[in-house]
Subunit: 237 residues, 2 copies
């Protein structure tokens, strides 16, 4: 096998470009937080001079755009493309997109507040995603003027759901059995008993990436179903 064979001398260095910059910036932000991301740090991580970095990106805001675009490029639009080709239903396309969206952002919860407010216009992969989703949703019969509310309502739910995936399963545990938390204890306890049954008849395969917190699955399905039904009601007959 030649897999691990290396040519003599220094390994070829990847050519500096926006894709490489995005990947390394994402690594820095995940490790140290967005506040610690500077052009100097990023150049150091890339092993280039800061001046070389400035040949490819304008400033930190531009790097944030690259990070956004890198993340969004990982979100599946396969279901939406099938919907455009009349090979699936609106319900299944929304489910595919929503599950993938949640899984991608669940890996980077600290970036969500930033990405939620970053304009899309200079992020080509992000524009592409929205464009495909818009075309698909229109093709399924949703009137033009209702498409954005569907997309934004889904995203709001998906951003929050991606954060909930990172919550500890014990987040709602109560320390004692005081009267002040008696009702909460009652419903938390009841939902745990219910949980097992819910998973036994699970029709959707579970993505390991989404399963940091298995308790997140039931509320996610509940909210997703709510949004899907509300969206289907908009389809013009």
């Amino acid at each position: 096998m030649d897999h691990q064979k290396r040519r003599a001398g220094r390994p070829a260095k990847p050519v500096l470009g926006r894709a490489i910059i995005a990947q390394q910036a994402l690594g820095l932000v995940v490790a140290d937080g967005l506040d610690q991301l500077t052009m100097t740090q990023l150049a150091k991580k890339l092993g280039v001079a800061v001046s070389a970095l400035y040949n490819h990106v304008e400033n930190k805001a531009d790097v944030v755009l690259l990070i956004q675009d890198e993340l969004v490029s990982q979100v599946s639009v396969e279901g939406m493309l099938k919907l455009i080709a009349h090979q699936t239903t609106l319900q299944d396309a929304l489910t595919d997109w929503a599950r993938s969206y949640r899984a991608v952002f669940a890996e980077y919860p600290s970036l969500i507040p930033l990405i939620a407010v970053t304009p899309v216009s200079d992020a080509p992969q992000t524009l592409r995603m929205y464009n495909v989703v818009a075309q698909a949703v229109i093709s399924a019969g949703i009137p033009d003027e209702h498409v954005m509310r569907v997309i934004i309502a889904f995203e709001s739910f998906l951003f929050g759901s991606a954060m909930d995936v990172n919550a500890p399963p014990t987040i709602f545990d109560t320390a004692d059995s005081s009267m002040e938390s008696a009702w909460l204890q009652r419903v938390v306890s009841a939902s745990m008993t219910q949980q097992q049954g819910d998973f036994e008849d699970a029709s959707h395969p579970k993505d390991p990436a989404e399963m940091h917190n298995s308790y997140a699955e039931v509320p996610f399905r509940f909210g997703l179903e709510a949004l899907i039904q509300q969206t289907l009601a908009l389809v013009e007959s």
Copy 2:
């Protein structure tokens, strides 16, 4: 009028306690970010020795709990209390709670990822809110085992919606009219035309605190209505 009359000498200094600590910590985090919050900085802002601060809080994690509890204490449970007293409907109680929840967290979007994963057990105001909501939702006929999924699905949507309030109204504007964004441009343009009509027949008064981004209102209503309808379908008859 005696309102502004002061006694001679130094003005009374507020007694150091968890409420004062929470307020000042929240101020620090909003100004400088959570990473910059240290016990030393917090003691300085409070004008006390670090040792005095440690008489009231154990560590930074404890301060984060205080911040969470301070924010959650601002969320209205008036509608939920009325529901318990049979003075309002489940639909109206959920709407009141959801609008208030979104408005409070829209002021502190950068704290959302942290609060979304912070256990509630040592935060008394937070426990109280969940306890009231749980009691109210049960009193409206939602079976115990379904209550947590309702609360968590709402929260996921509300956290995301609170971030969307902070998005610039131009977030989906596209720089040019290339084919790659033609469908997106079409639906963004259609939603702007629709917007005015939506607001003219608005039945719900708009809270100025929620209106950083007026475009956020339509998708918020759409998602909220979806979740409310899905919740009402759980009521046992």
